[in-house]
């Protein structure tokens, strides 16, 4: 059953990343990969809420492993970082790593707090 829920969540999560990435780029033209930054931070926030709220395993498979897992990406993030460095935007490459880690981690802790506030 969990396999099916992971599949359904991912079927939505992957195109949602693509569409969000496009929507961000349309509104904010930049070399810095804001689109990927936004989806990774958003998925980290949602997964923080789900983890903090100790949701049922089926819910976690659907929204956590499936949706958040496919919405967020490490491959896109690392390829972008390499490309920024290759193109000579070393500062942006370093900033992408630092900002993604700090904001991603901050989003998770915010999600933990939100979930614990909701549960109590």
């Amino acid at each position: 059953m969990n396999w099916l829920l992971v599949a359904v969540g991912a079927a939505v999560g992957a195109p949602l990343r693509y569409l969000t990435d496009r929507a961000v780029q349309v509104r904010h033209d930049s070399v810095f990969p804001w689109g990927t930054f936004v989806v990774n931070a958003g998925a980290s926030l949602l997964l923080g809420v789900l983890t903090g709220a100790l949701v049922f395993s089926g819910t976690y498979a659907l929204l956590g492993t499936g949706l958040c897992g496919a919405l967020s990406t490490y491959s896109t993030f690392s390829y972008e970082t390499l490309r920024l460095a290759e193109r000579g935007w070393t500062f942006l490459a370093v900033a992408n790593v630092g900002a993604s880690l700090l904001v991603g981690l901050g989003a998770v802790f915010l999600g933990f707090d939100v979930a614990r506030g909701l549960v109590q």
């Binding site: 969990n2 992971v6 079927a11 999560g13 992957a14 990406t73 972008e80 880690l101």
Partner: protein
């Protein structure tokens, strides 16, 4: 920083999922083709996520399973993007299906961030930092190696032909 500073071909793209500086990628959601692209991404995402879930079922209970998933996915995106983006090879849906879908669905940033946060909360700061930095180093090293090896193979094949 402006669009003008970019080459217009896909070889100048920074974002492998979609880079609107590349005219062909900007246009790929126009008209009915949009649904083919989204379906390819969705199908790829399902396969990638199931492979990641399978790895966690096979090797449960350790953050290093997701580490392995992320490092392998990063090596493969390096190989794929050299062939698809720099060489312009393959079907137009190859990047959406394999890059955005399969590899994007396989790798995960959110689980990585949650695992680091949980280690920190449990007071295992050293493991948290080791895992955070180890994944970063492994992922960046893997994508670099994937790109470098594929570029060398393409150059050798080109010289031989």
């Amino acid at each position: 920083m402006s669009r003008l500073s970019h080459p217009t071909g896909s070889e100048g793209a920074i974002d492998p999922d979609v880079d609107l500086h590349v005219p062909a990628q900007r246009a790929e959601t126009a008209g009915r083709g949009k649904w083919r692209v989204l379906a390819a991404i969705s199908a790829g995402g399902v396969l990638g996520a199931l492979a990641r879930y399978g790895a966690v079922v096979l090797w449960p209970g350790s953050v290093w399973t997701v580490f392995g998933v992320n490092v392998v996915g990063c090596a493969l995106i390096g190989v794929l993007m050299v062939l698809v983006s720099e060489q312009g090879r393959g079907h137009a849906l190859l990047r959406p299906f394999l890059g955005v879908g399969v590899l994007g669905g396989f790798t995960t940033f959110s689980t990585y961030a949650v695992d680091v946060a949980r280690l920190l909360e449990r007071g295992e700061a050293l493991t948290a930092m080791g895992y955070a930095a180890g994944t970063l180093a492994g992922a960046l090293g893997a994508v670099w190696a994937g790109v470098a090896v594929t570029r060398a193979a393409v150059a050798r094949a080109g010289a031989a032909s």
